[in-house]
């Protein structure tokens, strides 16, 4: 092979590599800009909140000398842009500062509360998708029948019932009245401290440690909040699945498949359903992201020590390091889930490659 041939052979590869690198660089720039925007907006909103972090920390009755001293200690005497710049510089060095409420580094707080939310949101998404998608598909296939009507009513109720109300009613009936579920928390207090595993998920860590009593206790505690959140997710996912499926069932290829004499199951699941997988993946990913930062009400009702409760408490007491750290984490996870779903698209839909 001559050198000119070799160059000609390499050039398409090089341009492919270049184009790939450009795409990666663009994606990275978009991600960083999104995260920066998120931090700027949160920082500005945080400053507009009327709560005074100094009074929140030292109490209403403290004198002016104490106030000024703590104000300075918190770095609040510096101009806003300097405060933000210093925060960004810390973030770049993976330092998220200290929470004024918990007095712990924000990173260690997040490492504690986030697995609790992940555990709850993951189970809820599994329940929501596991029940909602089949329900939506069946509703679409049997459009206009009692099954469809039932599915829509169940979906409508899930959509329109306030989650904190449902949580309170469930606690009232199943905990207070019948004693079937625990009244809150992640685990029975008597099992506290028996498992301190690597993942932060008590369910997973107790399995790894073979602490079955702890596992049952954790499972017992997570069922009710996960079912309630799962129900809300199911309502959303069943409506979306139904709508996606109806659109597919109207397509000509479905008519062709039926004309070919394929069975109903084959037409629905092998042909129509295959074509809604990408859309479904998008809405499931969105539902999951929504659950990660939207569990706050259910976390409050069930005293679930997760990210939602941490963030709300931080907002109430103007604990800006904790708020910014939490928002940044939610942002990163949301972007990661979207990126992951983009990658999965490529595997399940050749057209997106």
């Amino acid at each position: 092979m001559t050198s000119s041939q070799a160059t000609a052979a390499r050039s398409p590869d090089s341009s492919k590599l270049l184009s790939g690198l450009r795409k990666v660089a663009t994606s990275l720039a978009v991600i960083l800009t999104t995260l920066l925007g998120l931090l700027v907006i949160t920082f500005v909103i945080g400053r507009l909140v009327p709560a005074d972090p100094v009074i929140a920390a030292i109490g209403d009755q403290a004198d002016q000398a104490t106030y000024e001293r703590v104000h300075k200690e918190m770095g609040l005497d510096r101009p806003l842009y300097v405060q933000f710049g210093a925060y960004l510089s810390d973030v770049v060095h993976l330092e998220f500062g200290q929470s004024h409420i918990t007095k712990n580094p924000v990173a260690s707080d997040l490492a504690r509360v986030f697995p609790a939310t992940i555990e709850l949101a993951t189970l809820a998404t599994l329940i929501g998708a596991g029940l909602g998608v089949p329900l939506g598909v069946i509703s679409a296939v049997r459009k206009g029948t009692w099954v469809d009507h039932l599915g829509r009513i169940v979906g409508l109720l899930g959509y329109s019932t306030p989650i904190f109300w449902l949580g309170t009613i469930v606690i009232l009936v199943f905990y207070a009245k019948f004693g079937l579920i625990p009244g809150g928390g992640r685990i029975d207090i008597y099992n506290e401290g028996l498992v301190e595993g690597p993942s932060g998920s008590i369910l997973l860590d107790s399995i790894l440690a073979r602490e079955w009593e702890v596992f049952w206790s954790a499972l017992h505690h997570v069922v009710a909040p996960a079912l309630i959140l799962g129900y809300a997710a199911m309502a959303y996912l069943s409506r979306m699945s139904r709508s996606f499926m109806l659109e597919q069932l109207r397509q000509e290829y479905v008519l062709t498949a039926r004309a070919k004499g394929l069975s109903q199951r084959s037409v629905v699941w092998r042909h129509a359903f295959r074509n809604i997988r990408v859309q479904l993946l998008t809405v499931v990913a969105l539902a999951y992201c929504g659950l990660l930062d939207g569990t706050v009400l259910i976390e409050t009702v069930f005293a679930w020590p997760g990210l939602g409760q941490y963030l709300t408490s931080a907002l109430f007491f103007a604990d800006m390091n904790a708020v910014l750290g939490s928002v940044l984490l939610i942002g990163i996870i949301s972007i990661a889930i979207n990126l992951l779903s983009d990658i999965v698209y490529r595997f399940i839909d050749p057209r997106t490659r």
Partner: protein, 531 residues
């Protein structure tokens, strides 16, 4: 429909996972479980915190020179100090420290620890340091004024003569807790005297040691087996974060909790009617107050201030929203303290308020912005005042929100909230409500309610408050406070007090010895449980 659906779902999952059903169980007889709201708990350094829930924890992890029992709150009793003497000039206090006390680390507690701890409180200069600084101790002078003369003796000199009780009562506050100075020497970072370490750990000698604390989730304290007064009956005390009042109520009703500490009036009433729990109402040393800005031309008129006294529905509120949260008390000294009077002669009287407004020159009333904290019961009280004021022609634009910052900066017209002091002595309340040495904006005496209201307190009242604090004769002092009480009311103050605060807790009837403490020092080592 919804319920049926949920039951089906719950049953399906329960069956599929083989969950053992049946969740309710009584708490073990050797553990005390307390439902609380931990949202405001930040850090466990006794020389830094200034908050009720955290103070109760610290009260049991650490000990102090003086003890105040809940039933004799104004009587100083021996704690870590087995005895003390006061010099004839009233300025030197000599404490004999117990020799049989060890810290949780195993180190013996000596006078050196007392010296180091009290100096630390003053030197850190954080909010609770007022407990000592108000008597003249400063970072510069404390080393010479507080000193250990040997391992069992501590000498405290005050720069001025104060009534001895004020000093002794201050040494019972959680803020004067004694820390393990030898143990903390290794924990110091950048000269912080162990401040960072103590946020989430303990270095005390109290009946309980800290095992676990996860903010806004859980706190576990374990009985200290070598405690000098004997190992407590409760092996563990567990605090669990339940921000919702209704959740706390259900937990205590089901027997999953022994004590619930932050309950709404509705839930307290329901629990009281249920008969399984006892509702404890602990009087606090603070008031529900209405502050009227004295830089405002209308509100600074004494007759207008007086008119507001007649716009509060004392009796109506007593039977409803304030049933568990307050006791009617219109004078300035809380019930149970020297000089307190129970003459609550003001009543809701719209006609009288209108008459006073007419005499003041405002027969058609006026309009003002009214800031109130949107929490129970403060906001309900504010709404009641707003409705009554409207009947008298005063239009109040009630704005809920966190306005405490504006109140501290004197940027308000009318403001209402609740105060709370920890020193069981009239001086604590009077220092804030009835002294204001410099009423100028520049003075920034933001810790004083009188300054925040821009109220130039009559000099004779301020002089009497100062004289009473220095008076060493008990009878004369009580008489002085009675006089101050009357003079305060007669001055038609800018701070209108209506109810003395009470803190309500629900305690299951099988729990004995858990007694709410007016200065936030509820003890766990006195608790026992029946079956």
């Amino acid at each position: 429909m919804l319920r049926r659906h949920f039951i089906l779902l719950a049953s399906a999952v329960a069956i599929a996972t083989g969950i053992p059903l049946g969740a309710n169980a009584k708490t073990p007889t050797d553990q005390l479980v307390i439902a609380t709201n931990m949202s405001s708990m930040r850090g466990l350094d006794p020389h830094e915190l200034n908050q009720l829930e955290a103070a109760e924890v610290v009260a049991n992890l650490y000990e102090r020179l003086i003890v105040l029992s809940a039933d004799e709150i104004t009587q100083p009793k021996p704690g870590l100090a087995e005895s003390w003497t006061v010099s004839e000039d009233g300025k030197t206090f000599t404490f004999k420290i117990r020799s049989d006390v060890t810290f949780h680390s195993g180190n013996p507690l000596t006078a050196k620890d007392v010296e180091w701890s009290l100096r630390r409180l003053v030197k850190l200069g954080l909010a609770p340091s007022t407990d000592l600084r108000q008597w003249g101790f400063s970072a510069e002078t404390v080393d010479s004024l507080i000193r250990a003369s040997d391992d069992q003796t501590v000498v405290i000199e005050t720069p001025e003569v104060w009534n001895a009780d004020l000093i002794l009562l201050s040494l019972a506050s959680f803020s004067t807790s004694i820390l393990d100075s030898v143990f903390l020497a290794d924990k110091e970072k950048n000269g912080d005297m162990g401040r960072e370490y103590l946020q989430t750990a303990d270095a005390g000698s109290g009946p309980y040691s800290l095992k676990t604390w996860r903010s806004n989730e859980l706190l576990i304290a374990e009985a200290y087996s070598d405690y000098w007064q004997g190992e407590p009956a409760m092996r563990r005390v567990i605090l669990r974060h339940f921000p919702e009042s209704s959740a706390q109520r259900l937990q205590i009703e089901a027997g999953d909790m022994d004590v619930a500490t932050r309950l709404s009036s509705t839930d307290l009433a329901a629990l009281e009617a249920g008969g399984k729990v006892e509702i404890q109402k602990t009087p606090g040393f603070g008031f529900y107050y209405l502050a009227l800005d004295q830089k405002d031309e209308i509100l600074s008129n004494p007759k207008v201030r007086e008119a507001f006294r007649y716009l509060i529905d004392y009796d109506g509120l007593s039977n409803t929203v304030m049933k568990y949260y307050g006791i009617k008390q219109q004078s300035i000294i809380p019930a149970g303290l020297p000089g307190a009077i129970s003459d609550n002669s003001y009543k809701l009287d719209i006609a009288k308020a209108k008459q006073l407004l007419t005499e003041a020159g405002y027969p058609d009333g006026f309009s003002k912005v009214y800031f109130a904290t949107p929490v129970t019961p403060e906001f309900e009280v504010a709404q009641s005042i707003q409705a009554n004021a409207a009947k008298a022609g005063i239009k109040l634009d009630l704005q809920g929100g966190d306005h405490i910052g504006k109140f501290r900066e004197r940027d308000f017209e009318i403001f209402s909230a609740r105060s709370g002091e920890r020193l069981p002595d009239p001086h604590a309340v009077l220092a804030s409500y009835a002294t204001n040495k410099d009423n100028s904006d520049e003075a920034k005496l933001t810790g004083l309610l009188a300054w925040r209201s821009a109220w130039d307190v009559p000099k004779e009242i301020q002089d009497m408050v100062t004289a009473a604090a220095h008076e060493t004769d008990k009878a004369k002092r009580t008489e002085l406070y009675a006089q101050i009480n009357k003079a305060y009311l007669a001055a038609s103050p800018a701070l209108v007090t209506s109810f003395q605060r009470t803190d309500a807790k629900a305690v299951r009837k099988e729990v004995k010895g858990y007694v709410g403490h007016s200065t936030w020092l509820t003890r766990w080592d006195t608790v026992t449980k029946g079956e």
